[in-house]
């Protein structure tokens, strides 16, 4: 019962964010880059969350920032899951030398800490939002490979797979029609958790000053607010909303992920949230 409410609430939040992202030009009263009045003005009727030090409307920035956040999360997750699932299926299905090679490569790749590497790569290439999403997706796909592979290992020797092969089906056909459907639920959960993870990382990059200058993102907003004395001056409407917005979507996706995981992994089924 409670679980259903939480699931509905999380889905609701995710859909609401998507709607806001799509309708950003309609909802946001100003261009988030435009100078719209006096700098550092407190919230009033014209500026729901006041203005920042550059006299940009904070509420409009918050609305437009939804786009960057969702884009970073979902594009990154789509790439990570696609790469992870493909590599995991191939590695687990063929086994032998291919599997050994993929596993050893993963061992090596996972020894290099991903976040500092991401920082260097994004700094080096002029950071564009798609580039950041793609890099996060590629570097973040390693864990998924392991996860999917372990599932494929047991599927590859299942009776229905052996039977299909006896009927003369090719490897490609078996992987696409019989193995892939078996790992899709797991890949789905991975997609949700990765999306959450990449949103936090992507906004974290913005916080560290690695951003696409043409895009408004919440990390940049938090950084700007904390570096320009929002805390000392008590300007909560500048500092708090972007962080709260990230936390809310992150929480919704986390709950969604746990609920799905709970659904497909009966051994963990005790979560009544």
């Amino acid at each position: 019962m409670h679980k259903k409410i939480v699931l509905a609430a999380s889905l609701g939040i995710v859909f609401a964010y998507c709607a806001v992202a799509l309708l950003a030009p309609v909802i946001a009263p100003y261009d988030p880059h435009a100078i719209t009045g006096a700098p550092l003005s407190p919230p009033d009727r014209d500026h729901l969350l006041g203005t920042n030090d550059l006299a940009q409307d904070i509420f409009s920035g918050l609305i437009w920032g939804t786009r960057a956040t969702l884009l970073l999360g979902f594009v990154g997750a789509a790439i990570a899951v696609t790469v992870g699932t493909a590599a995991g299926i191939v590695s687990g299905y063929y086994g032998g030398l291919i599997d050994e090679a993929v596993m050893r490569l993963l061992d090596v790749a996972m020894t290099i800490p991903i976040f500092p590497l991401l920082l260097i790569l994004t700094t080096f290439f002029r950071p564009g939002i798609y580039l950041i999403a793609v890099l996060m997706g590629l570097l973040g796909s390693f864990q998924g490979v392991r996860l999917i592979r372990s599932q494929v290992l047991s599927l590859a020797v299942a009776d229905f797979v052996v039977g299909t092969r006896a009927l003369g089906a090719g490897d490609g056909y078996i992987m696409a029609r019989h193995i892939l459907p078996g790992v899709l639920p797991l890949a789905g959960v991975k997609f949700v958790t990765s999306a959450q993870h990449f949103m936090l990382i992507g906004i974290g990059l913005g916080f560290l000053g690695i951003t696409d200058p043409s895009v408004v993102d919440w990390g940049q907003m938090i950084n700007r607010a904390s570096q320009n004395g929002a805390m000392i001056l008590g300007l909560w409407w500048w500092l708090i909303p972007p962080g709260l917005a990230v936390t809310l979507i992150s929480l919704a996706l986390a709950w969604l992920g746990y609920a799905c995981e709970d659904e497909i992994n009966p051994r963990l089924r005790v979560m009544r949230v």
Binding site: R104, D107, V108, A109, M110, T111, I112, P113, I114, F115, P116, L117, L119, I120, L121, T123, F124, Q196, L200, I203, G204, F207, L208, G209, I210, G219, I222, S226, M231, I232, L239, G243, V246, T247, S250, L251, L253, A254, W255, Y258, R267, L268, V270, M271, R272, V273
Partner: protein, 326 residues
């Protein structure tokens, strides 16, 4: 310990280090223009061409790319990681000074988080489905969902700014200029960053320990112990806990990489003079050699953690020889 396994681990670590170095080498070569036009513009623009040529010759920049690569790789192993653009001293020297400060935060945070995570996770898993378990699980999910930089800011605002319990940032009071560094003062400054890193890290340990406990609690030997008439506490301590703790050793690798990420944000927000804040500074001015050095030291961190886990594993579980397929 299985020799072949250890050898594999060493080869993997070696390869990882080489790849990290290779990425940096490739990036530096891929840059538009060469080293001298990009970074020593003054020489390039005002010095006569033969001086530029001499410079390139002295630093080996005119040699074949493969030879440059080998020299670069060998230098990385020798600890010659180049000079920082901003600090104008060898990268390793800059990193060495900051490493201690990062460890002052990371060690207590990691140890506390591991102990607390194992304890709370074990309890939660053992009493699965109870009100306490559900409450704990949900609080952990919430803490885990909060971005570390946001958590750090909120902790700073609440405990340092509004409640005024701890300093706002830095690692010592200004009084240290006259009296020298007082360890107690440093500890006082470290409380909030350590707390943030602790919260950041404890959730992962908790979640894994809880799932591990759920699996263990369903095992036959637990049922057997109960059938023997042992009391619950005894079963938990003697049978469940020891077995459920085994997967925790492998967590150390992920945890280590996560802590590096966390420390970048936490140190930046609390102005703590460690590797994390150094990363932030190096990013701001695009100090590539320094960033490269940080990546290499972070890789070494993870390698060390991996090897430590390998060495700890047989101690924790006498049945398992590391490297066995079981």
């Amino acid at each position: 310990m299985n020799g072949i396994y250890l050898l594999k681990r060493l080869i993997t670590s070696f390869a990882a280090f080489c790849i990290a170095v290779t990425i940096m080498f490739a990036l530096l070569r891929l840059m538009p223009g060469d080293y001298i036009t990009m970074y020593l513009e003054a020489i390039y623009r005002y010095a006569p061409p033969d001086v530029v040529e001499a410079f390139n010759h002295v630093y080996g920049l005119d040699r074949p790319i493969l030879e440059q690569y080998v020299i670069y790789l060998l230098d990385a192993f020798r600890g010659n990681w180049g000079y920082s653009f901003i600090y104008k001293v060898p990268v390793l020297t800059v990193i060495g000074e900051r490493l201690v400060w990062t460890l002052i935060l990371l060690l207590p945070a990691t140890i506390l988080a591991t102990l607390a995570g194992i304890g709370i996770g074990a309890y939660s898993g053992w009493r699965r489905g109870s009100k306490t378990d559900i409450a704990l699980l949900n609080s952990m999910i919430i803490i885990r969902a909060i971005p570390s930089y946001w958590l750090a800011l909120m902790i700073l605002i609440i405990f340092a700014y509004y409640l005024n319990l701890f300093p706002l940032g830095g690692y010592v009071d200004t009084g240290a200029l006259t009296t020298g560094i007082d360890p107690l003062d440093v500890a006082n400054h470290a409380v909030l960053p350590v707390l943030t890193l602790f919260l950041f890290s404890v959730t992962g340990t908790y979640y894994l320990m809880r799932s591990s406990m759920l699996m263990t609690a369903g095992e036959d030997y637990i049922t057997t112990a109960r059938a023997k008439g042992l009391d619950e506490l005894m079963i938990l301590r003697k049978h469940a806990l020891k077995n459920a703790m085994l997967p925790m050793v492998t967590l150390i690798t992920f945890e280590c990489a996560g802590m590096i990420t966390g420390s970048i944000f936490v140190e930046t927000i609390f102005s703590w003079p460690g590797l994390g804040m150094l990363t932030y500074k190096a990013l701001a001015v695009r100090d590539l050699p320094l960033l490269q050095g940080i990546l290499l030291i972070d890789t070494l961190f993870v390698i060390a953690a991996n090897i430590a886990a390998d060495l700890i594993y047989p101690l924790v579980d006498p049945r398992v020889q590391v490297g066995d397929d079981a």
